[in-house]
């Protein structure tokens, strides 16, 4: 088993690639790997409750740890209470911790 961190900086409203990235994350998870999806910059936009799409639900349902960068949320006026169920606000330290623990990290 390997550990993967996918850092998603794009939002699904402006890039179709996000769906493919989530499919990659889900495939990695289903292959028995530990996977975290870290949403940053405009990547946090789809995690607003009510605006969350299928991709995010798919990731959460697959058991992927979905984190949303707290700085990016604040910049965009998204309060913790507005974040969709299954997504946890997190500081960028979550990325540092995984880098230091030798996770395989991809910036998307």
């Amino acid at each position: 088993m390997s550990r993967y961190l996918l850092i998603e900086s794009q939002d699904s409203f402006s890039s179709n690639a996000v769906q493919e990235h989530v499919e990659l994350a889900v495939a990695l998870k289903r292959a028995g790997n530990e996977v975290t999806l870290y949403l940053v910059q405009n990547g946090v936009l789809p995690c607003r409750s009510g605006a969350d799409g299928e991709a995010l639900h798919e990731a959460v349902a697959a058991g992927i740890d979905v984190l949303a960068d707290d700085f990016s949320l604040n910049e965009r006026g998204i309060a913790d209470r507005d974040v969709a169920r299954g997504v946890r606000p997190a500081a960028i330290d979550a990325v540092v911790e995984r880098l230091a623990a030798s996770w395989k990290v991809i910036f998307l």
Partner: protein, 135 residues
């Protein structure tokens, strides 16, 4: 446990939020007690260009001081200062070829010129590496 991390960054200054994300990542890593190597290539060599200058905003009637325009070189200086203060290493390397192409040889103190071989060496010596490329 302290680790050494390497980050390769490609984006030019004043262009993309990825730059700020990388700066935040470097800051968080240093604050967590890790050493950090940064390899800036292509447009990212401009991040540490010493001649970046703040400017006024005539549209809003603000002078340069009031506008307080953020400059990446200042943020890098602050990150280098944070590393010194916390006893960690921040090795910021600009790709020499990319510097020459752009005529950006004047980097701030603490930033050095290197080659892709430096990136290879830094990556080999680090526990992990992250590439933040331009799209």
């Amino acid at each position: 446990m302290a680790a050494s991390l390497t980050i390769a960054i490609m984006d030019a200054p004043f262009e993309n939020a990825r730059t700020v994300t990388v700066f935040r990542l470097v800051q968080a890593a240093l604050k967590s007690g890790h050493d950090v190597n940064v390899f800036a290539y292509e447009g990212a060599v401009g991040l540490s260009f010493a001649r970046q200058a703040a400017h006024a905003n005539a549209v809003h009637g603000r002078d340069a001081a009031a506008e307080n325009h953020p400059l990446p070189r200042v943020w890098i200086e602050q990150l280098l200062g944070l590393a010194r203060k916390s006893g960690r290493k921040l090795d910021w390397v600009n790709c020499g070829l990319c510097v020459d192409e752009r005529g950006m040889g004047e980097a701030i103190d603490g930033v050095r010129r290197g080659t892709p071989a430096d990136l290879w060496k830094m990556s080999v010596e680090s526990v992990n590496s992250l590439t933040v490329g331009t799209r």
